[in-house]
Symmetry: C2
Subunit: 236 residues, 2 copies
């Protein structure tokens, strides 16, 4: 075969969802270029995880973009606002939580568009999920569809008719348990992934934030042992 | 009057168009928050101009975002590619030039969305222009409309029905001459604006890149003396 390899950009947070999206892209024979973001998040341990995952899963290149969102603020993930703990699933989906970061996925996907054009990699994978999620507006199908429409009007390659940007969201309609089962079938070692919004200094998960609770519930529902190491965060 | 002031984000490049957009926003009694970007562009003199303009025109705050697009590359404005010189107007509009920066306006507007949400400033002014422009896809009306649709699905304030994001493009259908006449009527001192893609070390305009040529043509057609200081770039 002399066909050039298919290339994809994969947004990689080092978490369970984006790692599964990366494994799916790899299973579809994409050459993967992983993109992570440092945006002043307190859970920067995810970037260490993202780097390790990119290497283990054969990404061609891993690029960490420095995004100075912390100057803009407006989120418990970047500001000095407490991350909510021990919420029940109904609380989690009843509104947009304080961990919401304004325009985060829009900024991330915009960088992905720029890189996608330069690499000629029109498929962009993002591990958003509209079922077991935290109520973020920029994880919903209508948002993703609108971003894709905009993207196809924004770039040289798309406007000249050479390429069509596809925002690939393979996890969009999966439960967390389905995501984990899919990943296990693709041999992901979830112990290297990091989901916690509020880890301790050693990077161990708190076990009580929305992200930890959704992750625990997913492993329980998938009937798979949870490989996460949960730490004990000292009280301030 | 006890009504709170209307706030707007204004993208400010330090150039003629964005400065006119800022003057229009001010004339509509907006409190203006100006947003500029350092993205490794060789014409960083524009940021000095943007800072001066924000101060002179009474912006409440001027914020320069560091965007590391230069690592992504793909443009004569950020890479070591020659900026085209002395092109005629037909050449300029017959294709997308090498000065095109992939996804630039998408990234800029995405940061504006994030700041807009935190400031509660749902009106975002951008000085794009679809007539006397350089053929960039992300300056066209269809692109701006699609971005606005996406924006209204992306944010907490819009999804919760509290705000509607409006991407304001007052220059969209103006000729460069009309833009200059509008700005003169609003008392803009265009001598402080910077348009050149390839200035000399002192920041003087080259007079020969697309941006300089469009600017010169605009002043000529508006019948207004061109206040720009054109330098003499030494040959390498």
């Amino acid at each position: 075969m002399n066909r050039p390899p298919k290339k994809a950009i994969v947004l990689s947070s080092g978490g369970l969802d984006s790692t599964t999206a990366l494994a799916i892209a790899r299973s579809e024979n994409y050459e993967c270029y992983t993109l992570s973001f440092f945006y002043g998040q307190r859970h920067h341990h995810e970037l260490t995880a993202a780097k390790k995952i990119s290497a283990m899963m054969g990404a061609v290149k891993h690029y960490v973009v420095n995004v100075d969102l912390s100057q803009i603020g407006g989120s418990a993930l970047t500001d000095d606002i407490d991350v909510p703990k021990n919420r029940n699933p109904r609380e989690m989906t009843s509104g947009i939580p304080v961990t919401y970061v304004p325009a985060r996925n829009t900024i991330f996907l915009s960088y992905a568009l720029a890189w996608s054009e330069v690499l000629d990699a029109p498929d962009i994978f993002i591990g958003v999920n509209a079922l077991d999620y935290s109520g973020y507006p920029d994880c919903r199908p209508a948002y993703i569809a609108a971003f894709q429409t905009m993207a196809n009007l924004a770039l040289k390659n798309t406007v000249e008719g050479k390429r069509t940007i596809s925002i690939r969201t393979p996890l969009l309609h999966m439960t967390k348990a389905e995501i984990i089962r899919t990943g296990m079938a693709l041999n992901i070692d979830y112990s290297i992934t990091h989901s916690c919004y509020d880890p301790d200094n050693a990077g161990h998960a708190c076990g009580r934030c929305d992200s930890c609770l959704l992750r625990k519930k997913g492993f329980a529902e998938a009937g798979v042992p949870d490989p996460t190491i949960y730490g004990k965060k000292p009280k301030p």
